[in-house]
């Protein structure tokens, strides 16, 4: 069951389109899995649409509009063909991903073993952000760390806990330097998450601290 959602404010900004693209991507993928947030966004969109209906506008004939209308109706209509639903594959296991992430499946690199039972596949989204699918096998753990920047995570499939909470498929997490956590999965089928970070992680305990100089190579 989904327990962790974006805030009402984030969902409103998302509905309005006034939000950073990376946040929007993870929120959109969350909404694809969460009927409750989907409904909230739909209701907000309806409200914003009302604003357009009620806006003060001069409806008199305007040459610029006449020209625009003629140009548009001279355009061909489009037929969009649906794609086949792409899925994420790891070791013969297939995972469905939410619709907004499907376009990125083909931009996803090969899986590499990070440590122990944790796997990572980089997703090319461009810009200064780094996105990954991360898969924790049962018993797999990411060493305790905090965040220099922001980390956005969506649980795509499975469950994991991090010492702060327990998360399930569809949960939306936003972590920053306030949060220290050590994600690990005890689920029989492990856990697949999608995550975007803008700065490398910072490991906080034990030998894992030795990873810090290299963390930009792995966990960024």
């Amino acid at each position: 069951m989904i327990k962790f959602h974006p805030t009402d404010k984030q969902l409103t900004q998302f509905a309005e389109g006034n939000i950073a693209a990376t946040q929007a991507l993870v929120i959109s993928a969350h909404c694809d899995m969460c009927p409750q947030c989907q409904e909230f966004v739909q209701a907000k969109s309806y409200e914003f649409a009302k604003d357009i209906e009620n806006i003060h506008a001069h409806e008199q004939t305007d040459p610029a509009f006449e020209k625009m209308l003629a140009e548009i109706t001279a355009m061909p209509m489009l037929n969009v063909r649906p794609d086949i639903t792409p899925r994420i594959e790891l070791d013969g296991k297939f995972f469905d991903v939410p619709k907004p992430l499907q376009r990125y499946v083909k931009h996803t690199g090969n899986w590499s073993k990070l440590l122990g039972k944790v796997w990572q596949a980089p997703v090319e989204i461009g810009g200064e952000y780094v996105a990954n699918f991360i898969y924790m096998e049962k018993g797999g753990q990411v060493p305790e760390h905090t965040h220099r920047g922001n980390e956005l995570t969506l649980v795509v499939n499975g469950e994991f806990s991090d010492g702060l909470n327990e998360y399930d498929s569809g949960d939306f997490l936003m972590m920053d330097s306030e949060h220290v956590h050590a994600p690990m999965s005890d689920a029989k089928d492990g856990c697949l998450v999608f995550s975007i970070v803008d700065q490398p992680l910072h490991f906080t305990s034990g030998l894992a601290r030795l990873l810090n100089p290299f963390s930009h190579l792995f966990f960024k």
């Binding site: 389109g17 969109s45 003060h56 409806e59 006449e66 209308l69 649906p82 907004p100």
Partner: protein, 203 residues
Amino acid sequence: MLIGMTLDNSKNNCKPAEVADEMSEALVEVANERCKRSYAKVFSYFAPRLRSYALKQMGNEALAMEMVQDTMANVWQKAHLFDASKGSPSTWIFTIARNIRFDMLRKLQNRKEDICSDDLWPVLCEQTPDANETSLDEQITLEQVGQLFENLPDKQRAVIEAIYLDGKSQQEVADQLSIPLGTVKSRTRLALQRLKDMLEDHD
């Protein structure tokens, strides 16, 4: 032929629900018949409103008009994606305008991430008829489906069972049955179409 087509003022005083119905009908006519007259009706109602809205958002007349043009062009070209059961015409058109604005602003800010509005708010994407499609299933009982299912040809039923009951991928089914992937896909498509036809007859 569009010369002399005046923008219609009379809609101003109509009740919102009536406007919504009228606009819905017009959009359906645009989608089905490429009806320019119906499109002009939608255009004359929304274009001036979108301009006022865009001016507030973009603060610049040229950008505002670009936003109106792109939005209304999408309405013309993709009218077949409007689904009245999922929301009002104004909500649909608002979401298109929002997406256009989002992409315009990102372009102006020179953002490098390969993320575009169609991924974030897929208002202009065809709904994929895939395994996740549940809307049809929800409308009838499981028992009814079971009965219809029995009527499928054996080969189609085997594929549907493996995919939808056992949760196998199409590739896995192809391997298991030693048939080409393309055959699995076409059997799935045929079976789903057949089930859909049977359900429609059922009503």
